[in-house]
Assembly symmetry: C2
Homo-oligomer: 188 residues x 2
């Protein structure tokens, strides 16, 4: 008896990073969702609040919190400035501190800002193909420093969880500013 061949339930477009398939969850963060994220809050408030800042497309083949599972998704950050800061994600630690993550860039130009619990920061350049192993107990934020959308993929443990509260309260110890036309990482 022959055994049927099924298509994969998910696809990833390696040029754009777009993820498609049954059960893919799409989310949007607008300028209005990013209240308090930028130094120049007045500049953020002056922008159209429903303007897209970044979008995510994720596959969750097991339930959130399941031990041993993995999730897969893409984030696409729009280009743009808020004052002298570039559009960026909120950033987070993992709730389960030893859980790591891979980021991998499909298109655009960005920075991955990393901060350990001692608030030491460093930045890695994101370009098509750059592949980033995020260490344990390290907050991570991505910043689009280019003129086109920054698209990158992620694979992370289904029991990593997200701790957004520490970053919402204390921020990162570094910011990325456009200084004389150049993306520059400075102490916050």
């Amino acid at each position: 008896m022959n055994i049927g061949i099924q298509p994969a339930s998910l696809t990833t477009d390696w040029a754009s990073g777009r993820v498609d398939g049954a059960g893919v969850v799409r989310a949007r963060r607008t300028i209005g969702d990013l209240h308090g994220l930028f130094t120049d809050e007045a500049a953020r408030a002056a922008l159209p609040q429903d303007r897209l800042a970044y979008a995510t497309e994720c596959a969750f083949p097991v339930a959130e919190g399941t031990a041993g599972g993995l999730f897969w998704g893409t984030t696409i950050i729009e280009p743009g400035l808020v004052g002298d800061e570039y559009l960026m994600t909120k950033g987070h630690f993992h709730a389960h501190a030893d859980r790591t993550e891979f980021y991998f860039t499909y298109a655009g130009e960005g920075l991955l800002l990393l901060m350990d619990r001692a608030r030491r920061c460093r930045a890695e350049r994101m370009v098509a193909g750059s592949t980033h192993a995020i260490p344990p107990d390290t907050a991570h934020r991505t910043i689009n420093i280019g003129s086109v959308p920054l698209s990158f993929g992620a694979c992370w443990p289904s029991d990593a969880g997200h701790d957004y509260a520490a970053i919402a309260r204390d921020g990162f110890a570094a910011r990325v500013r456009r200084i004389a036309g150049v993306a520059t990482v400075v102490a916050a």
Copy 2:
């Protein structure tokens, strides 16, 4: 004080799947390494034993066995037949049974053969962009059914481990054979 921007320590070429960077571990499996894998052992023994069957390029940012870590790598399977079976990987369960894995295809044409502990098999088609969530406690083997190298990436937990012994002893309950020119999944 400005904070320096570093390049990523790893790169992935989305066209070929090739992984490069400090610490990337490359391994090769030759026809000679695949003793006992195919039904037609005489056909395998008659081929050049040092001929490449598949190659892997992997990044291990944390030590094997570390909880919460992830590994990243690419496998490239050469095209070819051994008797009426296509070149394929050995296949394995994870030693830590609840650990899952993502496979994602860069180039070529293949099949992902999956088998649960009750020896129920199913197959998913691998084409560029196909993205596969391997469930817990499920053996996985990849087969190049095309005429060019099959290249796919993987991301898996650093404490998944590999159980090759069950497959070496009992095999998969299904095989992929070339029947009338078509890759066909049949009961073993």
